[in-house]
């Protein structure tokens, strides 16, 4: 059964540092008969920074996307944890605060738009885990990942703050997804703790401390690699890994993949569409070992 959604890639996944996430998401969605139709003329959700400078403008920027999506009548799916938090807030806040709704409506009207609060915003992980389902994903596996030990790293905003498809402190859906791909999810206590987010830009030292804890947590629990569901988490854990090593005199070489890249590997999607070359810490050795081991035994 083909499934249809409105696709909101967000800046990072559309054309930014995480475009491999966007591309691999579209590839595996195709393999799973999921049609992600990009929202035309979308704008940046505003993320946390805009909400911290001008609350009303930030909400209006986000609601513009909801208003455009409402015309399509489908659930709106995003791969980005920052986007989902803001877009869900933009849908919920006007319902809770009538005065705010009046202001937002007036702003939308200035752009010839209206929003009636009917768009359901969802994370891509939610769609794969709950609409497609683990069984269907397992049935698509063509390449055995053998004993690959994967640390599922959720980060924060995919499961917090609003009640969603998984537990806010001890989520399981990504663990089960990894399992359905034939790899071994590694339990690690910091799986839903913070990587520092965009603070890595203005306050790098703070973020490096948090990234260090997460890398150590995954490594100590025997992970060969980490998978993430957020462009910012991947950037912090991967791009800044060498800076953590320098600061803490550690020697982490943990590849950090988007979960869609791991799915693509298992489904036999070609490497190029998965953008594995964009990982700073190369996953080649770990993945080659896993797939060779699986074939041999």
């Amino acid at each position: 059964m083909k499934r249809y959604y409105t696709w909101f890639p967000g800046c990072s996944c559309a054309h930014g540092g995480a475009k491999a996430y966007g591309a691999s998401a579209l590839s595996v969605a195709k393999a799973l008969d999921v049609d992600l139709i990009e929202l035309e003329d979308w704008n940046c959700c505003g993320s946390t920074p805009y909400s911290s400078i001008d609350g009303l403008a930030a909400m209006c920027a986000a609601v513009r996307n909801l208003a455009l999506a409402e015309k399509k009548g489908l659930d709106m799916v995003t791969p980005c944890s920052c986007c989902i938090t803001i877009l869900k807030k933009a849908d919920a806040q006007p319902k809770e605060y009538p005065d705010l709704k009046k202001k937002i409506d007036a702003c939308l009207a200035a752009g010839g738009l209206e929003y009636h609060g009917t768009v359901k915003v969802r994370h891509l992980l939610d769609v794969f885990a709950n609409d497609v389902g683990y069984k269907e994903m397992a049935a698509k596996v063509k390449v055995k990942l053998g004993d690959l030990k994967v640390a599922p790293y959720y980060g924060c905003q995919v499961v917090r703050p609003t009640p969603s498809f998984d537990d806010p402190e001890n989520p399981q859906s990504l663990d089960r997804l990894v399992e359905s791909l034939g790899a071994k999810p590694v339990p690690h206590p910091l799986k839903a703790r913070c990587c520092g987010g965009s603070l890595v830009i203005p306050e790098e030292e703070i973020a490096l401390d948090l990234v260090h804890k997460i890398l150590e947590d995954a490594a100590r629990n025997g992970a060969d690699l980490i998978v993430t569901v957020c462009p910012l988490c991947q950037t912090n854990l991967d791009v800044y890994q060498s800076r953590v090593n320098k600061k803490f005199k550690t020697n982490f070489k943990l590849p950090v993949l988007f979960f869609t890249q791991l799915m693509g590997m298992a489904f036999g999607v070609d490497r190029k569409s998965l953008g594995l070359g964009t990982c700073i810490v190369s996953p080649d050795k770990v993945l080659a070992k896993a797939t060779a081991g699986a074939k041999g035994g």
Partner: protein, 190 residues
Amino acid sequence: MEKKPQGSNTLLEELSSIPGAEHVRLCIQCGSCTASCPNADKMQYAPRQLIAMARAGMRDEVLSANSMWYCASCYLCTVRCPRDIKPTELMHALECISAKQRMSNPKTRTPAMYRTFADFVYSTGYVPEASFMTWFYFATNPLNAIKMIPTALSMVRHGRLSIKAKRMKPEAERQLKAILDKAEELGGAS
């Protein structure tokens, strides 16, 4: 004993009118927020203390602190707060008030980064990471910008920094600007 004059607590009133921050008066000072916060130890005042100060009317001390600007928006405090105060939203509200009043927060570069980000959303509708980061680093700390060159180069090598910025269609850009200009005119979420 002489009583202190009872001034009105303008900060508390302002917070109470901002969506998401209005429960600040319900705080029982249990400290769940501080205990959950990954950055509490680096803040001038940890979240529980910041709330106590806001309620004590210490407006300038609160608004010029680095605390809210060290909040990474992980929302762990929000899901744990027994009074449903939403400390993360409270931090955002404090940031907005502080930013609006152009308070000086000498101990952190986060306000400058957030402002740059907001300006990019307003002017282009997107946040193109390459130009955004270059802009921010050179505007705030050129020395740090030089330190970042190896990281930037490795991102370029791995095809992760595209110099070409995506633009919206002109009519979409005009629509977004009309909406945001109206928001500016209506001023703030309160």
